[in-house]
């Protein structure tokens, strides 16, 4: 029996966005008459009430008045990367069956009761997280928490529901296989992560068929325990009321097993190579390019966000301006830096017509190396910083989005105080920091390239860059 630990951190910090730095000077001078950005308004961060129940369940509660809504996200540590090697895909089936019946309710009852409360349930799984999210009317908060607690602690995995989930997953795999990115994604992750659990993304049909009800019950019991869970609740009721309701429905939830062993940190060494997944009849090449990166909460996080935004993370970025707006090669090029609890990934993606596959690589390599060799313009840097700060504001505009931001924070080992660190962190990045990120991580020689396309149409073009390995997923 642990000691009751009640910590209440009230974040009442007020931040000013780039105060003083905004002004006409930031606008491209060539545009006559364009008004300058207005003065930045203070950003009032949400007040997060942090608590912990005696059973170890962490609570982050936020009162948010306005629309009559509430979002409740319950997350546990451990996701698909925890699936046993010979059972990869278990998490996927787990997420499809947690809300398919409890000791008290059938799947249909759960769906109908939630509908009557104006609520959706979303059970999902990531590499390091399994979560149940419910968004509904705040007036039904008591009942919503009761249903959430029922699925988090009493899921019964009825045999017929498990069988249906497995059959449907097998069909879904067949259906997904026809997407140009399906096999490519697996090839790309394997190239980047080798033997690490993060390398696995596509469950195999023969493995899915083998998954039993016992496998699900075992994984569920291991993962769903209050000592390794957080409940984030945001919405139109007081935090006092929230705490009362959570205690009522989840206070009796108990820890029954040892926590599962974690996974190792993934290596960040570049894994260059040029891989081709043959997709006959394809009228486009889907190109992925990238490398493994450090885990979440690393010291380069803010600088990488800025560097990636300048390179290809936003519509006005260098890569979009080049291969979409100037060359018209592609509709939607994109670059992202993703981080998980034990590793990360830099990834550029673009779908282009067959004839310009090699030309797209040339331009992308050029933009990556330009970032590593020259300093960005002042205007590019301040645009990227404002973009990221604005995106942060907009991303946390609703209760549901704020709840999922905070759930992700907890899984990554961050705290609510990190909400206050984002804006100053982005503002502190200099042009030299951006170039340093280019040199450290993003230069073209460090990237793996994987392409899904019609080998007959594109292999010759690609031989320009060295050996092309044709691979199967």
């Amino acid at each position: 029996m642990s000691v009751i630990r009640l910590t209440t951190t009230l974040l009442t910090l007020i931040l000013f966005f780039g105060a003083g730095s905004a002004g006409a000077a930031e606008n491209p001078p060539s545009i006559k008459g364009l008004p300058a950005y207005g003065p930045d308004k203070p950003l009032v961060l949400p007040q997060v009430v942090e608590k912990q129940l005696p059973n170890g369940l962490t609570l982050w509660l936020i009162e948010r008045r306005g629309l009559p809504l509430v979002s409740i996200h319950l997350a546990v540590k451990g996701g698909s990367a925890l699936d046993p090697r010979d059972r990869f895909g278990l998490s996927e089936i787990l997420s499809n069956t947690i809300s398919a019946g409890t000791q008290k309710r059938s799947s249909r009852q759960i769906a109908e009761e939630l509908q009557a409360l104006g609520a959706d349930i979303d059970v999902g799984v990531g590499k390091d997280i399994t979560y149940i999210g419910i968004d509904g009317l705040a007036s039904g908060a008591d009942k919503l928490l009761e249903i959430l607690a029922d699925t988090a602690s009493n899921a019964s995995f009825p045999e017929d529901e498990v069988k249906l989930a497995i059959e449907n997953e097998l069909q879904n795999i067949i259906a997904s296989k026809s997407q140009p990115s399906y096999d490519l994604n697996q090839v790309f992750y394997r190239q980047l992560f080798g033997d690490h659990p993060y390398a696995l993304v596509n469950p195999k049909p023969e493995v899915i068929s083998r998954i039993s009800r016992d496998d699900l019950v075992k994984a569920y019991r291991q993962r769903f325990q209050p000592k390794q869970a957080i409940l984030v609740m945001v919405g139109d009721l007081s935090t006092g009321k929230m705490e009362e309701l959570v205690t009522k429905h989840l206070g009796g939830w108990s820890n029954t097993e040892k926590a599962p062993a974690g996974i190792p940190t993934a290596a960040t060494t570049p894994r260059p190579g040029l891989l081709l997944v043959d997709r006959p009849h394809s009228v486009q090449s889907t190109i992925y390019m990238g490398r493994p990166m450090p885990p979440a909460n690393n010291s380069d996080e803010f600088a990488l966000d800025v560097a990636n935004t300048i390179f290809g993370g936003a519509f006005g970025s260098r890569l979009t301006m080049n291969i979409r707006e100037k060359k018209g090669y592609t509709y939607s090029p994109h670059a992202s830096v993703t981080s998980w609890a034990k590793g990360g990934m830099f990834k550029v993606s673009a779908s282009v017509r067959n004839e310009v596959t090699a030309a797209t690589l040339v331009e992308t390599f050029y933009e990556l190396d330009r970032l590593a060799t020259t300093l960005p313009e002042d205007e590019e840097l301040s645009r990227a910083q404002r973009y990221l700060k604005g995106r942060f504001l907009l991303a946390n505009e609703t209760s549901a989005s704020l709840a999922s931001t905070l759930t992700g924070y907890w899984i990554d080992g961050k705290t609510p105080a990190d909400l206050a660190r984002y804006v100053p962190g982005i503002e502190a990045i200099s042009k030299k920091d951006v170039q340093a990120m280019g040199r450290k991580y993003l230069s073209s020689r460090k990237q793996a390239v994987a392409i899904s396309g019609d080998a007959k149409a594109i292999k010759d073009q690609l031989s320009l860059f060295g050996e092309v390995r044709i691979v199967k997923p």
Binding site: F17, P28, G33, L34, P35, A36, Y37, G38, D40, K41, L43, G66, L67, P68, L69, R108, E112, L114, Q115, A116, L117, G118, A119, D120, D135, S139, G140, L164, N168, Q171, N172, A175, S178, Q179, P180, P205, S282, V283, Q284, F315, G316, E325, G328, Y329, T330, Y331, S332, S351, R353, S382, R383, R386, L388, G390, R391, L393, L394, E397, S399, A400
Partner: protein, 452 residues
């Protein structure tokens, strides 16, 4: 006391929730040149959402120019004589915002959301591109390529390729305005000239053919002054009349079989012709769509996916997938789209779906179930307008299509007042076999060979 408790319990059992929210504050202004401005202030976040909607969509594009309204939408991002190509995106993203545009049957909308400090530059940029564009052949050629890539990504290189939109509309509708492919044929896209672009801009992109809506951290009168300053001197245009796009219901079932080059699981799409939003049957039909296809509690999900287990998924509803009940100015389809297991013929699923509908048409719907569906629709509506951007967009579209942004405040009541008798009546009248068009999308032989 005991009696009181019992009646309370019954109310709870019926799922009768007090779904009420403070009405959105809505202030509407009209400029001398005909531009309508709608403002909804909300100071909970220092951000704004903005939507400018023009009253032109697929239905109004010229014959022989399929896809032109959408191609034109792309041209709106290609710069003006004042603001060169790229500056639009740079200034809005550089101000911390994001932006997009989309083309639909009855309107084309340009949306952005940003910290409120970026509002004035956005207003200037929107006014600037309403006034004029950089009508260069180079821009047109470039965007023609980008649009073709978009069509390759979404249609030609993708399983199912949006057949449940384009092919289904072509099958179900008679009038060209409703039936043609809004993405357009490559042949028609190739024919588009810079003269077409100029004419389209002159004809439709005028202040009296647009509504500008802003939701968020603003003062209505201050915004009004700023909008007058930037848009006030743009001259109005003489607008062409809108053709009558209404169609009677079909009197004979339509069917088509297709082969999918990329899919490995077959699919069906069913469309029933729906009336326009001025019909008294419109909101009952919207609720019926949700009753049938809204999520895991819906009747078709429970019947086909859980009970019969012959289908893998089902989605759809009134106006799906290109809109929702609030975004149509003319006729639409009630669509049902789903993947079916390849061990049986598609017609079995179509018959099962029709049986569920026929049961509603003959026996009606349980009041408690209907109430739950309505509660869910109203809650979903609140979830959607939680974002300033969606709020502004709905304000612009409803004002544009109906001259009535306040429809948003009446929408929950319009949904909640639908009765079981309404549901029964519209199911019997519209969701009939004769008014049904459907496509069996089979997998191509070279995909079948790959089956395990």
């Amino acid at each position: 006391m005991k009696r009181f408790l019992t009646s309370m319990a019954i109310i709870l059992l019926l799922g009768i929730q007090a779904v009420s929210a403070t009405p959105l504050p809505i202030t509407t202004f009209k400029l001398d040149n005909g531009l309508t401005l709608v403002v909804s202030e909300d100071h909970s976040s220092p951000t704004i959402g903005l939507s400018i909607a023009y009253h032109v969509g697929f239905r109004l594009e010229p014959k022989g120019r399929t896809g032109f309204a959408h191609l034109f939408e792309h041209m709106m991002f290609e710069g003006t004589p004042e603001a060169p190509k790229g500056s639009f995106v740079k200034i809005i993203q550089g101000g911390g915002g994001s932006l997009n545009g989309s083309t639909r049957y009855d309107y084309t909308n340009y949306i952005s959301t940003a910290p409120v400090s970026t509002l004035e530059p956005i207003l200037w940029l929107e006014a600037d591109r309403m006034r004029h564009l950089d009508f260069s052949k180079e821009n047109l050629d470039n965007q023609r390529d980008v649009v073709k890539e978009e069509i390759r990504v979404n249609v030609k290189n993708k399983p199912y390729g949006l057949f449940f939109w384009t092919d289904l509309a072509a099958l179900a509708f008679n009038k060209w305005a409703n039936a043609h492919d809004g993405y357009g044929s490559f042949v028609d896209l190739d024919k588009a000239t810079i003269e077409d672009v100029k004419r389209f801009h002159q004809t439709f992109y005028a202040p009296n053919n647009a509504v500008l809506a802003i939701a968020g951290d603003v003062d209505p009168e201050q915004v009004h002054q700023a909008v007058k300053k930037y848009f006030g001197d743009i001259p109005p245009a003489k607008l062409p009349p809108h053709a009558d796009v209404a169609e009677p219901l079909n009197t004979q079932e339509r069917f088509r079989e297709e082969q999918d080059e990329h899919a490995s699981v077959p699919a069906i799409a069913i469309g029933w012709k729906m009336p326009g939003p001025d019909s008294p049957d419109y909101y009952p039909l919207a609720v019926l769509g949700e009753l049938l296809m809204g999520g895991d509690a819906s009747l078709l999900y429970q019947k086909l996916i859980k009970e019969k287990q012959t289908m893998l998924s089902i989605s759809g509803g009134l106006g799906w997938p290109l809109g929702d009940p609030l975004t149509f100015g003319g006729p639409s389809l009630m669509v049902a789209f789903g993947l079916y297991k390849p061990n049986h013929e598609a017609v079995q699923d179509v018959n099962s779906i029709q049986q569920v509908i026929n049961a509603i048409a003959s026996k009606g719907v349980d009041a408690k179930r209907l109430k739950a569906v309505q509660t869910k629709m109203v809650a979903d509506y609140y979830k959607s307008i939680a974002r300033n951007l969606q709020r502004a967009d709905y304000l612009a579209i409803t004002q544009l299509l109906h001259g009535d942004a306040d429809l948003l405040n009446r929408y929950p009541a319009l949904i909640e007042k639908v009765s079981p008798a309404d549901i029964q009546r519209v199911a019997a009248k519209y969701l009939t076999v004769n008014n049904r068009s459907w496509i069996d999308r089979k997998i191509a032989p070279h995909q079948q060979e790959k089956q395990p």
